[in-house]
Amino acid sequence: MTKAFFNNVPAPSELVRLFSPRNFCIYSLASVGLAFSVHAQQPPSPQIKSQSQPDAIVSEQNSMLADDDNNALADVYPYALTEKPQSATDWMLKMSAAVRTLNFEVSFVVSRLNQETVPFLWRHGVLNDGTSVEQLNLQNGPGRELIRFGDVVSIFEPDAPPYSLQSKYINGPIPSELLYDPMSLVKGYDFVSVGRARVAGRPAQQLRVVSRDNTRFSYQLWLDQQSGMLLKMNTLDLQGNVLEQIQVSSFEIHQQAPEYFAKVNRDSLPAALALHSAANRAQNWEVDYLPSGMVEVKQDIRRLAVTGQVVEYKLFSDGLVDVSVYVQPAADAIGSDLVLRHELSTFLSLTDGKAQVTVIGEIPLQTANAIATSLKLKDDNGD
C-alpha cells in the first residue's frame, strides 16, 4: 500500500521542483539575491561562486533556500514549520516541531575521537490514526534496534531478549530533551544563533547551546533552513575541542509515514515493563553544589548489577546531561582516587579512609570535582 504510493504518486514536492525547469528558474533567481546577501558574511562556500553568473545556477541548495518563501510545501509541513524563525529559540522550537510531526528517514553517523564512526538510521512518522512512530537502528555490527509506537519503546539487542519500556521518546545519541522539549533546558542553557552554513548539502542555520554558568559542555547545532531538521551536532569541551560529532549524511521527508512501520507487527512487540522507583529511604548526605538548572531526579540505595556492591545513589539532570553520584564504603570500593574519561563521561572517584564518592556524567572534570567535594551531611551544621 505505502509502497505503491512511493512508486506512483508524485514525488515529494522538492523533487518535482528540482526537475521542472520553469519554476526552478524563477526560484533560483529569486533566491540569488537572498542567498548572496546572507552568505556575504560567511566564509567562502560553493554557493558564493555562483553570484557572478546567476544563469548558471542549477544548484540544489538555492532551490532549497527558496522554499522558505514557498507555499507549495504547506501540504507537507504543518503551518508552524513554514514560518521563518527569528530567534535561536524559534529555531529550537522549529526543530522540535519537525522531529515530532514530520515523516522522515534520516541517516546519521556519530564520531568520537579515536573511535570508530557509528552509523544510525532514524525514521519517524505519524500514522493515519495520529500515532507517532519512531525507529532507531544501529547499522554496524550485530546492531541494535529501537522501535517506538506511541509511548512504548521496544528494544531489540543482540544477546538479550527484547523488552519494552514506557517512554515517549527513543533515547538515542541525540539528547531527547534537546529534540522534544528544548524549552526545558533554558534554566541551565542559553541558545545563541550563530549564522548560516552549509551542511549535508543543505543551507543550514547554526546555533550554539551554552550552559549559563559555563560548567558544562557546550553544543553546536546546525538545523536545516527549510525543515528545521537537525543536520549536525557537535559536543565541545570547555576549551572548544570537539568531543563528539553527529552528522546527518542523508535525509528524506515524505508525506506519509515511512513504509517500514507498516511492516511492523505491533502485536508481536513485547509488552511494556512497569518500572517503579522503589520507595525512597532518605539518605543522610546531600550535594551542596550543582550547576545551574540541574536538579535531583532520583535517589535510592541498591546493589550494582555487575558486582553486587551496595551503593547509595543520586541522579541529577539538567535535561541535557545526567550526572550520577554514588557513595559506598571505601573498603568495598575502587580503592584509590581516580579520574578517567569514558566516551563523553567524566568518571571521578574520591576516597578517603572510609567512604568513596563517585561522580559520573557528561560534564567537565572541574564540575564533577566541584560536585564531589560539595557532599555534606544533612541536618548537620558542624563547621
Binding site: V339, T373, K376
Partner: protein
C-alpha cells in the same frame, strides 16, 4: 659540535663504533636528545612506527587539568563532618593531581566497550592465550603466564568495579524516562479508569 653530529650520524648508520661517540652521547644531554630525534626521524622516513617520539602524556593531561577554569563551588563545610568519614583528606588538595596515568590505561580498555555492545561480564577474556603447539618449553610458558596474572588480578578487579558503576550509570539514564512515565501512567490509571 658539527663533528660530533657527523659522528653521531655515522654511529647510527653503523659506520663507526667508536667508544668516543658513545661516551659523548652519554654525557651530553643535547646529543642524547638528538640521538632520540634521529631515530624518530629515521623510523618515520622508513614508515616504521616502532620508535614513537617520547611524549609525556601524564604531564600533558595534568597541564590540561590545570588550565581548566576553576568552578566556584560553595565551601565544603559539611564534608568533614560525615560520621562515615573520619580522617578526611581535603579533596581540594588532590584535585589536579589525580591518578591520571593509571586512568589513561583504564580508559583505553573501557573504550572498547561501546554503547551498542553488551556489557563485558568477563573482562579476563582478553588475557586468554592461545594454546601453543610444540616449540616452546613449558618452563618459559609457565613463567610468562603466572607473573602478569598475579599482577593483573588487582587491576582487573578495579576495572570491574569501575565498569559496574559505569554500566549502572548508563542503565539509570536509560531507565530514567521509563520510570517517570510508568509512574505517570500509574497515576493516570488511578485517577480515571481509562483502558486503551
Amino acid at each position: 659540535m658539527t663533528q660530533q653530529q657527523e659522528k653521531l650520524s655515522a654511529f647510527m648508520d653503523g659506520e663507526t663504533d667508536s667508544a668516543e661517540i658513545m661516551e659523548a652521547i652519554l654525557n651530553d644531554e643535547e646529543l642524547k636528545a638528538k640521538w632520540q630525534r634521529y631515530h624518530v626521524i629515521r623510523s618515520g622516513l622508513r614508515k616504521e612506527a616502532t620508535v614513537a617520539p617520547e611524549m609525556d602524556i601524564t604531564a600533558a593531561v595534568a597541564a590540561a587539568l590545570d588550565s581548566e577554569p576553576t568552578v566556584m563551588a560553595p565551601k565544603r563545610s559539611g564534608w568533614k563532618s560525615l560520621p562515615l568519614i573520619g580522617n578526611v583528606v581535603p579533596f581540594a588538595k588532590q584535585s589536579g593531581q589525580f591518578a591520571v596515568a593509571a586512568s589513561v590505561a583504564v580508559a583505553v580498555i573501557l573504550g572498547v566497550q561501546q554503547m551498542n555492545q553488551p556489557e563485558p561480564t568477563e573482562p579476563f577474556s582478553t588475557f586468554e592465550t592461545p594454546g601453543r603447539i610444540g616449540g616452546l618449553s613449558p618452563v618459559s610458558l609457565e613463567q610468562t603466564r603466572t607473573l602478569p596474572r598475579n599482577d593483573m588480578s588487582v587491576v582487573l578487579e578495579k576495572k570491574r568495579k569501575i565498569n559496574a558503576i559505569i554500566a549502572d550509570h548508563e542503565q539509570q539514564i536509560q531507565l530514567k524516562q521509563a520510570e517517570d512515565q510508568s509512574n505517570e501512567v500509574d497515576q493516570e490509571a488511578r485517577s480515571n479508569v481509562n483502558p486503551d
